[in-house]
Symmetry: C2
């Protein structure tokens, strides 16, 4: 009856999640980096590497500097005092994090895959014009991405959220299929790099609801998979209308 105890699902003690997908060689960087865009910014910072699931920075920590993803993926999250978690963004190479208008980090950053990042001290950021100009472009994209995420969180149903999430997993394919392409995408496996709990925290759902949505999409023939962490087939023509966006 307490209105404080509804959305939650996992409070407080959150054991460190182990690295996923042990069947795949780790240490391999999953995302290709776009060398050209950031090449001129390399000299200003220092390179750092983190294994999957490592915490790169924590909400509330004193902001040491800015991070630029060279390779791998990062997720940004925020916690409520009772342990409810919201994953706010999932960032790819060339995206920045550690953004804050104050002197403390506003959200936590965790490596979703093994990552390579460039770290720029605050003093460097303040002085480097190219870095700031780069920042403007990246922040524009991140603001728009946040708006899409707000629309998903505030107005989409569970299935719509999961369908949207899966579609976002396939950036290489979302550009195509504007008309009549092969509806089955069978390029081997599409990796699902997050656990059901992480997906749930990203989509504002519980892990059970995410699991049920996946099962439903599988049962309805929209997806085909054997393992939770990879999709063998994605029927885009049927998936897209389920996102609520099209």
């Amino acid at each position: 009856m307490s209105q404080l105890s509804q959305h939650p699902q996992h409070r407080l003690d959150r054991p460190p999640p182990p690295e996923r997908s042990k069947g795949v060689p780790t240490g391999v960087l999953p995302d290709g980096s776009d060398e050209s865009v950031t090449a001129d910014l390399r000299g200003l910072g220092r390179l750092a590497e983190f294994p999957a699931r490592a915490t790169v920075l924590s909400e509330g920590d004193t902001a040491r500097g800015l991070y630029l993803i060279i390779a791998g993926r990062i997720m940004l999250s925020k916690l409520l005092p009772d342990g409810r978690r919201q994953i706010c963004e999932i960032l790819s190479p060339n995206k920045v994090f550690g953004i804050t208008p104050t002197n403390r980090y506003h959200s936590s950053a965790e490596a979703l895959t093994p990552v390579h990042v460039m770290v720029y001290d605050r003093s460097i950021v303040d002085r480097s014009l190219p870095l700031k100009l780069f920042l403007v472009e990246q922040l524009k994209a991140q603001v728009c991405g946040s708006h899409d995420h707000a629309l998903l969180l505030g107005r989409k149903s569970a299935v719509e959220r999961v369908a949207s999430f899966i579609l976002d997993l396939l950036p290489a394919f979302t550009e195509r299929l504007d008309g009549h392409e092969p509806s089955l995408q069978g390029n081997g496996l599409v990796r699902v790099p997050m656990t059901r709990l992480e997906i749930a925290d990203y989509l504002g759902l519980t892990l059970e609801t995410v699991s049920r949505a996946f099962s439903r999409l599988k049962r309805d023939g929209v997806l085909a998979y054997d393992r939770a962490d990879s999709l063998m087939q994605v029927n885009l023509r049927r998936l897209k209308p389920l996102t609520g966006t099209y």
Copy 2:
């Protein structure tokens, strides 16, 4: 049974909402602008004014330029094809909108109050360094604000969302009350500048749920009000714990 028909509540035909609070003289600019910060950027753009509820720009329109709020408030929103709406941000003076990484606007902007804005053509923005540097600072704040909003939309209950919203209405007071200040704030009225529907679209709820949350807070003695558009008293000490954040 259709999973497409849950969150909605208002689809398609959305009649133009009339201006609120007819009892207050309009044309008066509600928010004071911080002249100092943006003074040096004034010469680059042109000033424009919009009455309350005017549409400043629409999602999907070709991006003509960038907008800086001088006075008044703007809300940014996105629509799903079936009419579900999410208000993504509510912006105050010195904030910018019309941000897009492409050549089309990514969300719509509507005046919540009468507004004064500076309009900067894209070509100007591309060339003006001071403008870009200002942009960086503002975008940092907006990214963090979007993260807070994601946490609210994804993980907070209806009452927590409304309590958080009300707390955000009182920026002049949120800084105080870190310890033991007067728990009743009786400086005349706190204006609620949005209709229940707009609040609902901002908080990812229905207008009925918002209304019930207000009623509950009133019944519980957390708020006191006679009219829906202004609060006579806000018990901050009791409101804060209801936001889920503290």
